[in-house]
Structures are given as C-alpha cells and as structure tokens.
C-alpha cells in the first residue's frame, strides 16, 4: 500500500473511531447525571416515575421554608403555569435563590415530593423589574 493511502486510511479511521465514540457515549451515559430528561412540572405530577429528571420553574411565593434544625435543608414549591411541585433540597443554596426566582432542579420524585440534589438559579445579568419613578424611589434608603 502506498504511503498516500496509509495517510488517508489513518485519517478516515481516526475520524470514524472518534465519531463512533461520541455517538456510542450518547447512548451509554457514564452515569445517571450525564443525560437527564428535562420535563415540565405538569408532566412529573402526572407520571409516577422515579427516574432522575431535571425541572425548571419559578419558586412559588412564600413557599420557602428553611428547616430549623439544619439550615442547609430547604423546602419550597416550584410552579410552572398552574402546576405546583413541592421540592426538598439539602445543600448550599445559590445566592439568587429566593421567591420568584427562576430555578432549575435535578433529582427524583418520590413520596409526594421532589428530592433534588442540584439547585441552580438563572444568573440575572442585571436587575429585573420595571423602572421606578421619582416618587417610589428614595436614594437615601439604598445608599448609606
């Protein structure tokens, strides 16, 4: 075989192996955290599955309860449209976690609530909200 064909064969072989590797990995994830279904709050409430899933939504108003015994443990509701999902999370909460924040949680549903081991907030690149007019705004309040 001439050198030219050897080179071509090597390049094609290398590309094929790598492509195969990438595709194979997409069907054989290394662990349950590699590929996770992203479903809606409504879907998880309808299904009875205990599969690991990812869910996004808004933290429902006045639903955050921090456990008095362990302040790393928090209970809150995620709402998406009309559906509400009770969530339990143990771990460090992101700074932007609060009522009304857009969050993503990952975990599994059992015993009527969602046990999350990952809690992410969308990092706002700026303050959300409407502009304030002169009357509603007091500079002294904020900058001391």
């Amino acid at each position: 075989m001439s050198q030219k064909y050897k080179v071509i064969l090597a390049v094609v072989g290398l590309s094929l192996i790598s492509t195969f590797w990438i595709l194979w990995s997409s069907f054989n994830p290394v662990n349950e955290k590699a590929l996770v279904k992203f479903i809606s709050v409504g879907e998880i409430l309808d299904s009875n599955s205990n599969e690991r899933v990812r869910i996004g939504g808004i933290v429902a108003d006045s639903s955050i309860i921090i456990s008095p015994s362990n302040r790393m443990e928090v209970y809150f509701d995620i709402k998406e449209g009309a559906s509400k999902l009770p969530v339990r999370f143990v771990g460090a909460r992101p700074d932007l976690f609060k009522h009304g924040a857009e969050v993503i949680v990952e975990g599994a549903f059992f015993n009527g609530s969602f046990n999350a081991d990952m809690l992410q907030t969308k990092c706002a690149s700026r303050y959300e909200g409407d502009l304030r007019d002169a009357a509603s705004y007091k500079l002294d309040d904020i900058n001391i």
Binding site: Q3, K4, K6, V7, A10, V11, L14, S15, S18, T19, W21, I22, S25, S26, P29, V30, N31, K33, A34, L35, V36, K37, F38, I39, R54, G56, I66, P68, N70, R71, M72, G91, A92, R93, D95, L96, K98, H99, G100, E102, I104, Q120, T121, K122, C123, A124, S125, R126, Y127, G129, L131, R132, D133, A134, Y137, L139, D141, I142, N143, I144
Partner: protein
C-alpha cells in the same frame, strides 16, 4: 451630543456600507480603480460612524442619561464610573454595538496595513467585512437599537443598576476580551474568502492571516480562561468550567481556530492542505456567529441567561446563508484549491499536523453534539434530554488525551519522513522517562485516566525540553555562544516555533490542573462557635462570627481556623455572607452574595463558602472544598499567553526601530 446622533450614525453607517458593497462589486466587475478608491473611503466612513456611535453611547452611560432605555436598564446613579463604562457590553444592544466597534477598529487597521498590498484581494476583503458590519448594523438599527428612548410616562429618576455579582474587574474585562477573539476571526476569514475568490495562492497573505489569527486566538484563550477564573473566584461552586452552552459557544471556535493555527503552518511551508485550511477558517468564523446565536437566542437553557430576544432567527439565518455561500464557493473553486504536493509518509511532521487537526475538529464536533443534543432529542423524541458535565467529560477526556499525546509526538517527527534513526534519537529518552513515571504513578496508587494524563504530561514536557536542548546545543557548538545567548537567539530566530512550544508547555500544565479535578472533595456542615469539622485530613474550626455593616452592604463574617491532622495551623479563612442593598424596603431587591475565601498552594486549594446562617442559634453553615492542583491551570495559562506573545511579536521590531 444627543442620543439622536447615535441613532443617525448607525443608520448612516448601514446606508454607506450597502453603497460601498455595491461599488466594490462593480469595481470587481469592470476594474475602474476610482470605484475602489471611493468604496474604500466609504468603508472607512462606515467604521468611523460606528466608532462615533459607540462613543456617544459611552458618554450617555457615564453621564447617566436615563432617558435612554439602555442606560436606565444597565446603570444607576450609584454604579461606579468603571461599571457605567462596562455597561456598554452588559446588555444586548450595547454589546452588539460594542461588537461593531471592535470590528470597525479591526477594519481600519486592515485597510491601513494593506493600503498598497493585495490589490486583487482587498476588494473582496472589504466586501466580507462590510457584509458582517451591515448585518450587525441592521440588528442595531431595526431590532435592538441601543439608543431607544425609555418607555416610561414618568421622569426616570434612577436606573436599575448592575448586579453586584457582575461588579468585579475580571467580569468587566472578560466579555470584551472574548469579543476581541470572536470578532478577530472575521479578518482571517475575510482574507481566506478573498483568496478563494481571486485564486490567490501566494504565501504572503497567509503570514498576514496567521498574525491576525494569533491575535484572535490569544484574545479568545484569555477570555475563556478569565471567565473560568472569575467563576472559580466568585460563584462558589468550586469549579472553573461547567460545560454550559455559553462556555461551549466560545470553546468551539477556539478548537477549530487552534486547528487552523497548526495547519496553516503546513500551507505556509509546503503549500499543502489548502482546501482544508479554507474549510477550517470558514468553520471557525461561522462558529463565532453561531456562538453569538447560542448565547443570545435563548434556545439553550443556560445559567448565563441573557434576556430572551428576537435575535435568534436572525443569527441562525445569517449562519446558514453564510454556510451555503461558503460551501458553494468552495465547490466552485475546488480545482484551484488542489495542492500540488502530497503527504509523503505516515510518520512525517505533515501527517502529525493532519492528525492533530482531525482530533481538534472531532473534539469540536463532540462539544457541538453535546450542546445541541437537547434540541435534537426534543425534535426527534419530543422530550428534551439535557446534557450534563459528566457526558462532556466522558466524551472529551479520551479525545483530549490523544491530543496531549500528539502534542508530544508531533514536534519530534521530521518533515517529509521520519527515519528509523530519527525515531531512536528523538523518542528514546522521552519514552523511557514517561514509562518510568508511569511506574511511579501506579505505585503511588493513581489509576485510570489520571495515570495516562500524568504520564503523557511528563512525555510532552520532556520532548519540549529536548527540542530546546537540541536547538541550544547546536548553536553553542556552531557559533560558540553561551547557553543563555544561544537560547535567546534560538527563540528570536524562530519565534513562532519556540513560542508554540511555550504554549504547549502551558497546555501541559493546564492538563495537570484538570487532572487534579479527579481528586476534588466537597463537604457541607454547620458549625457553632468553637465547634469543628473536617474534610480529608484538614480540620475547620469556627473561631469567630460577627456582623459588620459596610457602605453598600451588610456582612456576616466567619473566621475558620484551618489545621492539619497533626495540629499544625495551615491558615485561617474568612468567608463572608453579604447582603447588598440590605436597607432596601423591598426584600426582593436585597441581594445576598457569598464572598468566598480560598487558601491556595501549588498542591491544593482549600475553598470555603459561607452558605447560610442560623442567627437564632448562632450556627454558620459552610461548604468546604479541597481542589488539588488548580493552580497549575492558572500558571499554565500564564505560560500560554507568554508563548503566544513570543509567537506573534513582530520579528523585525529592531529593524523598524533603527529605521
């Protein structure tokens, strides 16, 4: 100046760019040089108008003119001047204008540098730059105009301000540096496109675009690293890379750009791989636009949630149209792109570069695949499957290790064909040392990828040192120089080669740092005063906990005494839990922020985050991490920047100074 001028400037620039494109196309058809001259002047005007518009917006930002919607939404009276200035790229429309600003500066430099060069290519180069400018001008004029007046039926007394998380110097300079890289690839793309259209094959223009590509590559690399460094120092999840779509968006053009920087050497030296290089630079440019699409469209769920915008379809159409045009033109000019020479042997430097390219492109494909996987699964199955970091690590680690191997093997191969003699000379020592290190690492107890990665790092480092040694000794022998002089002249005489070796060395250090992540440890616990807890062999004792009120925030400060198992004091850490705007009557505007504290050595980082506080019982909750070898990543990146600077430093600087 009033903001109206800003709006008018960008509209005028759009008009002039259309006119200029037409004049250039006419010139290309009929060759009337006057058409080219006026088109070029118009291109200069376009760039200056954009620069003026940018200055107007900056002026409005700094003088806090809240009648402009952009100013009101991204700054407030309390925003420090530096961040009023950086608000230019904090939001969507401003960042598009800023993008245009950089492209315009690059355009002016290109026009000035090539005043009397590349008469055939220049018209096409300008057409490409102008088309890209026009695209962004259309967006800023019609879709998101940064000079849009505030929509409020009252006098806006103050703006919304910038998130304190983003009020950080690194965060302020990381986007513009990334942009320099993104925009920078437009120029080599324009050159390549022009060469394709004019069938130019000389090697002079290749040197021009190599310099440009290096500048863009350095900016892109620094931007990516700074982003990671900021995330590590500020965000408190203990890592610097999360395989987030926005990170991937900058990583993909970096990968193909790196491949291009390598394979362009072959074209410069051997006039081979012309078709391949053309494809690579086009893909790199398209990926920069695609990256902007990813970050701006809201198609991907990302922690970098920029406001969802109507821009997605525009960017996607632009990418697809450009893709088709490029593909069409390449097929049309296929015969011109044929190389006269062929690669002669499997064991040549040329094939080494080729394999390196294949791996880089594969890696890019892997990242691309993982990034768009949720979209594909949603379209095919109806369920969106999100891709986590474990997937990316699973796929990319082996490919990355092959790349690391090639970093060591490639430079040892000879051009055209490596003889058996050469093989013995070049490979014996690195191989023996690498194998010895393998045994040592196995004895230490490392397994799996960790062993391979560390062994390859040793192999590459030795092979780089041998390259330097060979070069230095041959100079010492031949010119009777001292070792130091020989080293300096060696680097000076062949900046791109030895600069490249420095970059390789930097990459090796970074790989060692990445390998350290395999041993990361993490623990969360609560402590009352004088209580302690431990992670691995490190003890953490809460010795002090106190509140403090500062000018713009309120802070709970914890002092942790960190000791080793034998009782030796390692350090004391002071993570803080801050609340910005703590006096704001609206609790939703109060902004908690964990100011973390890191104790860093070459061996490991001890990383502490103050997560929460139970004020009733005075219990503070912490997240503690021990991350080995992270410093190698930062030191590696310094060397990478240093090496790139060597490679792109103009080699005739002395001559210029003398004349």
């Amino acid at each position: 100046m009033t903001p109206v001028f800003g709006s008018v400037s960008i509209s005028l620039a759009a008009g002039f760019s259309i006119l200029s494109i037409f004049l250039l196309l006419f010139y290309i058809r009929n060759g009337d040089y006057r058409l080219f001259l006026s088109a070029r002047r118009m291109a200069i005007v376009v760039s200056f108008l954009i620069i003026i518009a940018t200055f107007i917006l900056v002026n409005e930002l700094i003088s806090s003119n809240f009648n402009i919607d952009y100013v009101a939404h991204h700054t407030s009276l309390e925003t420090p001047t530096l961040y009023k200035f950086s608000a230019l790229w904090a939001g969507q429309s401003g960042s598009l204008l800023f993008w245009l600003f950089i492209l315009s500066v690059f355009s002016l430099i290109t026009i000035y540098q090539n005043k009397n060069r590349y008469h055939k290519m220049m018209p096409w180069i300008l057409v490409v730059i102008l088309v890209v400018q026009l695209f962004f001008l259309i967006l800023t004029t019609f879709i998101t105009n940064p000079f849009e007046p505030t929509k409020a039926d009252f006098e806006v007394a103050n703006g919304l301000g910038l998130n304190p998380l983003l009020q950080n110097l690194t965060m302020a300079i990381h986007p513009p540096i990334l942009y320099l890289g993104f925009v920078g690839f437009t120029i080599p793309f324009a050159f390549a496109f022009a060469a394709l259209m004019t069938n130019e094959s000389g090697s002079l223009w290749i040197r021009s675009i190599r310099r440009w590509s290096l500048v863009a590559w350095l900016a892109l690399s620094s931007g990516i690293i700074l982003g990671g460094w900021w995330a590590y120092q500020e965000l408190g999840w203990g890592g610097y890379w999360a395989w987030d779509p926005v990170e991937n968006a900058s990583f993909m053009p970096w990968l193909t750009g790196t491949a291009f920087l390598h394979s362009i050497i072959i074209q410069e030296k051997k006039n081979m791989l012309r078709l391949w290089n053309m494809i690579l630079i086009m893909i790199t440019f398209l990926l920069t636009i695609f990256g902007t699409f990813l970050t701006r469209s809201g198609v991907m769920s990302s922690v970098h949630s920029f406001t969802q915008s109507p821009l997605g379809p525009f960017f996607l159409s632009f990418v697809i149209i450009l893709l088709f045009i490029c593909a069409f033109l390449i097929i049309l000019n296929l015969s011109n792109l044929k190389s006269e020479k062929r690669i002669e042997s499997l064991t040549s430097r040329e094939s080494g570069f080729l394999f390196n390219n294949v791996i880089f492109v594969t890696l890019c494909f892997a990242v691309f695949w993982g990034t768009i996987f949720p979209v594909i699964t949603e379209a095919v199955q109806g369920t969106k499957i999100t891709v986590g970091a474990p997937f990316f690590n699973q796929v990319t680690i082996p490919i990355g290790l092959v790349l690391l191997l090639l970093t060591g093997v490639g430079p040892l191969l000879a051009w055209r064909k490596t003889s058996t003699e050469n093989f013995k000379n070049n490979f014996t020592l690195p191989l023996i040392i690498a194998l010895c290190s393998l045994i040592v690492f196995l004895l230490i107890g490392f397994r799996g990828y960790v062993v391979i990665s560390l062994m390859l790092s040793v192999f590459v480092t030795i092979s780089i040192f041998m390259e330097f040694k060979r070069g230095v000794y041959s100079r010492v022998k031949r010119f009777n120089e001292s070792i130091l002089t020989a080293l300096v002249t060696l680097i000076k005489k062949n900046r791109s080669r030895y600069g490249g070796y420095f970059v390789h060395l930097g990459i090796v250090l970074m790989f060692i740092g990445f390998t350290g992540a395999a041993f990361n440890m993490k623990k969360e616990f609560g402590l009352a005063i004088n209580e302690q807890n431990h992670l691995d062999n490190v003890n953490f004792k809460l010795v002090k906990l106190w509140p403090e009120e500062r000018s713009n925030h309120f802070s709970w400060i914890a002092e942790l005494l960190v000791t080793a198992d034998n009782g030796n004091i390692i350090t004391s850490l002071r993570p803080e839990k801050r609340i910005y705007f703590h006096l704001d009557p609206n609790p939703d505007r109060r902004q908690p922020h964990s100011e973390l504290d890191i104790y860093s050595t070459m061996q490991r980082d001890i990383y502490s985050v103050f997560s929460s506080i139970d004020t009733d019982n005075n219990i503070a909750f912490f997240q503690i991490m021990i991350n080995p070898l992270v410093r190698f990543v930062w030191y590696g990146s310094y060397i990478l920047v240093f090496g790139t600077l060597i490679a792109m430093w103009p080699s005739n600087r002395k001559k210029l100074l003398l004349s």
